[in-house]
Amino acid sequence: MDLALAPETLARWQFGITTVYHFLFVPLTISLAALTAGLQTAWVRTEKEKYLRATKFWGKLFLINIAMGVVTGIVQEFQFGMNWSDYSRFVGDIFGAPLAFEALIAFFFESTFIGLWIFGWDKLPKKIHLACIWMVSMGTVLSAYFILAANSWMQHPVGFRINEERGRAELTDFWLVLTQNTALTQFFHTITAAFLVGGAFMAGISAFHLARKKHVPVMRSSLRLGLIVLIVAGMGTAISGDLLGKVMFKQQPMKMAAAEALWDGEAPAPFSVFAYGDVEKGHNKVAIEIPGLLSFLANDDFTSFVPGINDVNKAEQEKFGPGDYRPNIPVAYWGFRWMIGFGMASLGIGALGLWLTRKRFMLPAELRTGEDEVPHLVLFKKPLSPKLANLYWVVALWTMGFPLIANSWGWIFTEMGRQPWVVYGVLRTRDAVSPNVSQAEVLTSMIGFTLLYAVLAVIEVKLLVKYVKAGPPELTEADLNPPTKIGGDDKNPDRPMAFSY
């Protein structure tokens, strides 16, 4: 069979497409849930109307986004059984448990309380309504934790033994699966990266409105909040990324060697800035390197030995039998770089933005009309030309996409860097696909999902743009007088619902 259309290849493409697509919505959901909850808390505590308007504005964008996150998540769970049935048979004993935990503990939570939050504006007292969005936020984070624990087990299988008789892996220590350092560092890294997405999203959209001098009070608070989140999350992502990298150097040396295009082990090992390699011959034709840095990233010193691709391949051949144990090296190498590059660029732009929009750089006092003035870029004594002054807003808008690109490449690198293993060192990807599912079936589902996703992406983006442009809603009488008892006030039984589909 043509390799490009082999069921394994198709199933991998399908998994890649659905996962990367799903993960465009997941980080935004995680971060916007918490940010919306934060803004609503600010409203409940201060009763400043701008916070309620901000809550409604970001909350609506959050809802448009979570709808897609939820429906694409269902596909993930079904896909293991549909396309990877031999994987499911082999690891179900271990891998199924965190998935079931996720559904029972986290997803029920999230889905139930989101219904309460959406429809509860005129049914729940203010503080209980606020608690609902915090529950949603907690649910999204818990969800991420269980899924990442499951994924970490594929990266670094622990707490199991092989049952030869049943031909499968069996769980021996669930606590270890949930608390191994791979799971914890990966969770830390993914959550911080998720907030990077939300921070950039908030800063970018606020910048869009501020550049037009619209909705200034709401958007100025949102901009500053977004930028602070961007910076804190950016630093968190860098720290967690470094920790995760050190864990990976120990657990998956092949992935990290591929990420660096380090063909032969060296001591001290250099960090590669640019490399162009020959995969067949196993060396780089062009390489620009920083000496010793890779040793530092792997082991915290500048002189230690880091094994290369050829070393690990040889070691794995001795351990697991003849074969090629190298992942797709250009993808790993560039995926790693796009991830770090775009992630760090968004952190840098966030830091610059926070500095540029601080109080000193507001309009001169005589021109101010109130404390909620549009931040104006007064870098120099003379005012900037409008074109140049607008540049920052444009940059902020573009930066919205950076963390998404970084996240996607991060996952592509993580998953493709593990190949040819689906469970590192235990189960090969080619042994994991469903043996009884035909090429035509996988092709049908892949084309079906891809087309559907493409159409939905267009719809979602158009809706987001529409609601972003519309800006925060004006508040109504009902918004400012929330009910005092659960189930709503009975004074006027025919009062229209505050929210209805």
Partner: protein, 333 residues
């Protein structure tokens, strides 16, 4: 009772929860074309399930996740074997979820009409296909000695399974009609009750044929009792509906669903998915379950989480207990 038997029961409970809850919201989706006369009435119907449909759907994800964890071989055989029907269900669930959330987000007539069509079809198709799938599981499918499904798509479409599909479709729609007569006020509530009577009769006829067929071909004493409960509950639901006791009617249409699911699972046990090729190749609770350790952990998790889930989901229904009618729908865009 061993742990894998406990998990067989728990998975039956999860499917019961799913069909009970999403059953009525599928039904309401179908009713948007069967019952609603105009857009405002459609919106009343959709809003009766608005706060809860998402939580209802999680019962499916939990049933799927629990099957994966407790019976990996069952999960693998079922999901890879029923590939195309499941694909269709998945696509429907994707479009359906998005349709609920996006329909009201633009004022254009065409936009809203398109999503309304989507809500109808993506509620109807899964409601039908789940019946087809479960009828096939009970009847037995071509499973070989390696636990793999070796049949084709056409093997899944037979008179028995299609009848099963019609039963779930009509039963869910009936359940939905009873639900809307419980949750609405005004003209739509009266029409809903009248429609429930007619739908109930059709459902009763189809369900009776299907359940007796099931009982005769693979039932035993216990499944007979479940069948009798299902039939009596359905008759009771119809009777209470005629008498205008909507709460009781809804409770009993729920009991019908629960008893019917119980009957299907009772006819299965101790199999989880019988093979039509050779009895020795049946998937059973023992040969397809997880290790005792995994089942133990899962049992603890279920013991703690399930009551909590029931508690807060129940609370949601309490918060949104008030009936709604066309007067509560305001046109805002």
């Amino acid at each position: 009772m061993q742990l894998h038997d406990v998990w067989f029961v728990l998975i039956a409970v999860l499917w019961t929860g799913y069909f009970f809850l999403e059953g009525f919201d599928f039904g309401v989706g179908v009713l948007t074309k069967l019952l609603a006369r105009d857009r405002t009435e459609k919106r009343v119907l959709i809003n009766t399930i608005g706060p809860v449909w998402d939580g209802n759907e999680v019962w499916l994800l939990t049933a799927g996740g629990a099957t994966f964890a407790a019976f990996p071989d069952w999960y693998a055989t079922l999901f890879s074997g029923f590939y195309l029907p499941l694909l269709l269900i998945l696509i429907c669930l994707i479009i359906r979820g998005v349709a609920f959330e996006y329909r009201h987000k633009r004022p254009e007539d065409r936009w809203q009409t398109n999503w309304e069509h989507a809500i109808f079809w993506t509620s109807l198709i899964p409601a039908f296909l789940w019946g087809v799938a479960f009828a096939n599981i009970v009847r037995g499918v071509k499973i070989d000695e390696n636990k793999e499904y070796v049949g084709t798509l056409l093997d899944l479409l037979n008179v028995y399974s299609i009848l099963g599909g019609l039963v779930t479709l009509t039963l869910f729609t009936f359940h939905g009609t009873v639900f809307t007569s419980l949750k609405t006020v005004g003209d739509i509530r009266d029409r809903s009750r009248k429609l429930a009577t007619r739908l109930g009769v059709v459902t009763a006829v189809l369900a009776l044929v299907f359940l007796i067929w099931t009982q005769v071909s693979c039932g035993d004493g216990q499944s007979l009792i479940a069948m009798i409960v299902a039939v009596l509950a359905l008759v009771g639901a119809l009777g209470f509906n005629l008498a205008g006791r909507e709460g009781w009617s809804f409770a009993l249409s729920g009991v019908t669903i629960a008893a019917a699911v119980a009957m299907l699972f009772l006819t299965l046990f101790p199999n989880v998915m019988p093979s039509s090729l050779n009895e020795a190749w049946n998937l059973t609770v023992t040969n397809s379950s997880s290790s005792a350790y995994t089942l133990k952990i899962m049992t603890w998790c279920a013991a703690v989480a399930t009551p909590l889930v029931l508690l807060y989901q129940g609370w949601t229904y309490w918060v949104f207990r008030k009936r709604i009618g066309t007067q509560h729908i305001v046109d805002v865009h």
